[in-house]
């Protein structure tokens, strides 16, 4: 039987989601990740941030993205709206730290103006980020409870 690890955070944008984890241990640079989406009109959710060795080249669409927090350009909020509109957004964003003003703004504006939601939980703590691994199965509950089922070794 698989081992389930639970964490509890703050449901910043509440909802349920389930999917495969993509984990970054460095700040998630939203603009660098989606720069081709912003400038070149790309329809790909693949991370283009070459400074992020954890996520560079990974497709984040429909994934559960687990990060310390977001960093970088103030275009970030617009980018969350754009990836929501294009249907290439993660299912959920899980923050170990406090959600920042740019991510909160973009995710909330996408929710309110576009009616499309990225389930968002913050304040999960460093232990969460140390526990979750890319490829793990993660489920998110409305109350901010996170369940991690470790991926089986192949």
């Amino acid at each position: 039987m698989s081992q389930i690890t639970k964490f509890k955070g703050r449901p910043a944008v509440p909802g349920t989601a389930e999917g495969s984890a993509e984990v970054s241990h460095v700040g998630f640079n939203t603009c660098a990740t989606y720069v081709d989406v912003l400038i070149a009109g790309s329809d790909s959710g693949v991370c283009k941030d070459h400074d992020n060795k954890d996520l560079f080249g990974h497709d984040l669409a429909d994934k559960i993205v687990c990060i310390p927090q977001t960093i970088g350009s103030s275009s970030a909020a617009t980018l969350f709206m754009i990836i929501l509109e294009k249907g290439i957004a993660p299912k959920a964003m899980l923050f170990a730290n406090h959600i920042d003003s740019l991510a909160a703004c973009g995710i909330l504006m996408g929710d309110n103006w576009l009616g499309k939601r990225i389930v968002t939980v913050d304040l999960l703590g460093d232990d969460f980020l140390n526990a979750v691994k890319t490829g793990d199965k993660v489920s998110v509950q409305k109350d901010g409870t996170i369940e991690i089922e470790a991926a089986r070794a192949s």
């Binding site: 400074d51 970088g72 703004c105 504006m109 996408g110």
Partner: protein
Amino acid sequence: MVLLFLTIRVDQFIGGGSGSDGVEPLLKIYKQLADAGLKTYKPFTADPKPMDPEHLPVSAQEQATVDKIYNRMDELEDLNLKLGMRSKDDWSCACYVPEMGNTPERGDYLAWSESSAINYVNSVIGARTNRNSMGIDMLCNIIGKAPLFGLMTDEGRKAVWLIDVKTTKQPHPEMLGSAIGLKVMEDVPYIAGMDRFLKEVNEETSGYLKDLGAATASNGAVGLYHMEGVTPEARDKGRDLLKEGYQTYVIDDAELDRIYKGYPNLWKDKHGTPQRVFLGCPHMTSGQMAEWGNRIVDAMEKAGKSKISVPTYMFGSIYVKKAFEEKNPDVTRKLKAYGVSIPLNCPMMWCSTPVEGAELVATNSNKTRVYTSARFFFDDDLTELIVTGKLPADVR
């Protein structure tokens, strides 16, 4: 949450110079606002446009591709002007320089976007704005209010990191900023040890502080830094700005070297010859243009050259460009003769277009490096490249 009235005499800054289909959600909102007859309560300036065909031309075929990508630029400009943009010339990420005239005063409350501009006005001027995004900046400035939290408050402006700079010489601002951003992410750092090199904020140091801050905001999410003995709040309050329980990060020569060596080389031809040199992201101050202009002239005259070996561009606003040219007619004449150009657009966006993204661009900007495939080089190496067409062997 408290809604705080902004200081209404201050012009504002709105992000988003990219008129691509990508910004469709934003354009929809702007159109709704403009159709309703709404305007910002004070005029605003905006981030630079992605292209400048006059000063940074591309081939006809490339231009056709670029025109398709930025097919919403005219629409964005039209909407900006309807919503309160100051004029058709007011595109620059460094709007706070005196020549642009969108310069807040210490203590002014703002609702700005553009990570580097936010960082500068908070840190170097002592005005107060949170890190707002494109879109929210416009909405705040339509209603003339911004939420009171974070960097708008005394408590939110306290530092949770002491950055102890122990380098043997004045560090390159891009490297120091990069190191700080990577470590503290969005926290407020208090930088000590820099008053050995910088004494105050003035025309000479403002470019350095701008570039340092921009690097903290691209490799991290720093909206405010304090520099001991230099920035206004640090001069007044000193280490009282440090929060109880702050952490310390020591930066020495070895740490900066470690950061530099960690920058990836994304050029398709890893050791190819650079095709262009981009200087200034964020946009240069007139002081930086004079410094780089003189640097290039000195190197060219020393080498006995009449034309630069690699196309070289110094990016700035139209106002800064005019001021630089008026103050430095001899240098301006020589730079034009060498082939150095001063475009008005955003080098980062230019490098991000699919056509130009394939080029091998060398830059002095960490921000351009973070968001594009351009490679960062130090000033002496770039100067040699501009004059000889080659990078020094040890940095190729």
